[in-house]
């Protein structure tokens, strides 16, 4: 039996320093839980001479990754450097050197997760990545273990804190998108270039990871339908509220006999749904399983210590496996091939906000577009016209396919009575 576990840390940014803090402050608890101490031996950084506020000795820091990978006394590599190419290479080298790896890197896991997990299996090493999705919320573990016996049918998640923060401020404090984004940036919830967040790319990566696990299949970025929050128009949030919904940037993954569908887009969520009241920078993932029914997991989606909690949870699990000699025994090969549904198979309800000319017969003509495409309408609201003889018409459809929806949109945009389709949203989470 090993007398201690030795860690090499790749990166010492927000998450890396959090990991060091937790391992330092909780070292007695960890030793108690594992029976042996856990030590950080080396930390890879860009500048090894920089003064840092840490309990780690200065000589722990190095700029040479070989000092970690080639040190046979290092059992476990914790990758929290971020980025893609370099991080992926580092993980590959660590696994090939027979070291367990814990990573918080959603970009790498979304892009190359299957290859890396395969490599880990081949080298009989653990590769854990709890912190790659949902910050401090133990989601990966819950999907892998807690709900292991169930068949998951749907998973809807608010998995990007930045966009959720912005939408919360816009809804509850009536801020504009720009004001809310500025506040998010100031508080450190948004990157200086927020495009990966607001365009839905960050959420799509996380949904790739979650959907792959939930459905035991290989989902790739190309399989995800993505619409950024830029499509949200002035007045949409108030309209949603008026009809009993909240606009959320949500990821959704569903599976039925036809295959799977994964999307990230701004959606209307009924206010009675537990996801509707997930506010600010918080994340939550709602899981619907055949047997378990509805469950939801809520918590901080980012941040130094929350994310470090997940990383350190993985470190404990990896250490335990190392000590028991059962590392790398998890089978990761997906059980099913990934059949992605086409647009005709993807069913949902849609909310349409259409600027129309306020004239006789317009409703008849427009509703005939819906019936032509086989769509029935659940709700129509035509408010009083504006001074310029324009009016916003609201249509909420019953269940239609994405293809039907796209056909209707196309016809609406060409109809002479229509100024333009101002906005549209899928309605999410109604059929619970």
């Amino acid at each position: 039996m090993k007398s201690e576990i030795t860690i090499g840390l790749l990166g010492f940014g927000v998450v890396g320093s959090g990991v060091a803090t937790i391992l330092h402050e909780h070292q007695a608890d960890l030793s108690y839980k594992l029976g042996v101490p856990v030590k950080i031996k080396k930390v890879l950084v860009k500048d090894a001479t920089k003064k840092r506020d840490t309990a780690l000795a200065q000589e722990t820091f190095t700029t040479d990754i070989d000092e970690l990978i080639e040190d046979r006394s290092i059992d476990l590599i914790v990758e929290v450097m971020g980025g893609t190419t370099e991080a992926k290479e580092a993980i590959e080298r660590a696994l090939r050197a027979g070291k367990g790896v814990v990573t918080a890197n959603k970009d790498v896991m979304a892009e190359s997760g299957f290859d890396l997990l395969k490599l880990a299996d081949e080298n009989k090493c653990d590769l854990f990545y709890e912190a790659s999705v949902g910050g401090g919320i133990p989601l990966i573990r819950t999907l892998e273990d807690g709900l292991a016996s169930d068949r998951i049918r749907a998973l809807t998640g608010i998995v990007n804190g930045t966009t959720n923060f912005i939408l919360t401020k816009m809804k509850h404090e009536k801020k504009t998108y720009e004001e809310a984004l500025a506040e998010a940036t100031e508080l450190g919830f948004a990157e200086s270039d927020p495009s990966a967040d607001v365009d839905g790319i960050d959420a799509a990566r996380k949904m790739v990871i979650l959907a792959s696990l939930a459905f035991s299949t290989e989902v790739h970025m190309d399989d995800v339908f993505v619409r950024g929050m830029g499509v949200i128009q002035d007045g949409d949030l108030e309209l949603a509220e008026h009809f009993g919904y909240t606009v959320k940037m949500a990821g959704s993954a569903k599976k039925d006999e036809d295959g799977i569908e994964v999307a990230v887009e701004p959606v209307f969520i009924q206010n009675s749904h537990p996801l509707a009241s997930v506010n600010n920078e918080f994340n939550a993932v709602y899981v619907y399983g055949d047997a378990v029914g509805e469950t939801m997991f809520y918590g901080p989606g980012a941040g130094s210590l929350p994310t470090a909690t997940s990383v350190t949870g993985d470190v404990i699990a990896a250490c335990r496996n190392l000590l028991l000699g059962v590392n790398g025994k998890r089978m990761h090969a997906p059980q099913f091939t990934c059949e992605v549904k086409n647009d005709s198979q993807i069913i949902g309800r849609y909310f349409h906000r259409i600027s129309i000319k306020d004239q006789v017969g317009v409703l008849t003509n427009l509703s005939s577009i819906y019936s032509k495409h086989g769509a029935s309408i659940a709700t129509v609201v035509q408010p009083e016209g504006k001074p310029n003889n324009e009016v916003d018409l609201i249509m909420i459809t019953h269940h239609i396919s994405r293809q039907q929806h796209q056909n209707i949109l196309q016809d609406l945009q060409q109809a002479p009575e229509v100024n333009k389709v101002i906005s549209y949203y899928r309605v999410e989470g109604e059929n619970r």
Copy 2:
């Protein structure tokens, strides 16, 4: 390596039949996940000849527990028979026979969990009990693994579905307690004798299990402060709503430098707190950790298939350990001795509803009672008097100890201006 895992099932009621259903319907998935099939070999029941709607063969059922315990080919005992003495004895016998045990029995785990876990350790067997708390929500696993690296400070839970269902119906549908209880009974959410639920005993058992794990200590039923929902008076729910709160039967466990406190009681929860919108028969546990901050785990707290999902999740974990030869390697001995705080160390805010005589000087006299005991008042509301010259006075205190609160109550009850203290509640979840 074993070529299959063989299970003996104790009990075939609501949960037991759910376990059999999941193991049967998901057998291909389970074989894939574990590499070997999982089979139920024997089921202990009261009447082995009864016709049952199940895929299991008639000869699987037996009334003789020895057929399970003494069958060396049975690897794992799943105890879902309920009750206390008999179930505990069965678990003990199984562990002594070297079999792993999965149980859904909160009564046994709350009462004898430490002894049984110790026995499991001594016999190098696994004893898993995810289903004992929170039905289908993976709480035990989350506290043991997901948040393993964190230090949990507080855990607040709606862990009894019956009382939550009743309170939801009373609040949202304005039903009386009796009407709501009748509906809960009809829908199968309440037992024919609902006293363990409404008196808080069921929730207290679950809090014993959760608090012990969260704080790595030995909490016992005697350590829990329990107040049943019978103290809720007509009009209290509306008053709570008026002040921005929701009344919930909640369990709370906290730890600070003075020690721990565990309570189950009806409390006022601020409407903005995620627990306030946990409705109907759903359960949720809100966990506050030093590093992770706020997390919440939500789902069905009971029911055949949800609970069976947790049981079967445990079965998979136990099978995996058996196949890897690392069963019984979990260290269960609590890290800390349990120091329960006394009433002077337990701090909270309180809501008081006091029927007073509507006369000059009453507010001065009553508020002097609060100041005499060192309590400052956050809110006073004295509505218009009733025809009979009585009036309900509302006082919400700042933070005081439970001892101060009890002293104030005693003095209030003896004050000549007071008809009676109609009701009082602790205010929960404000200092997030």
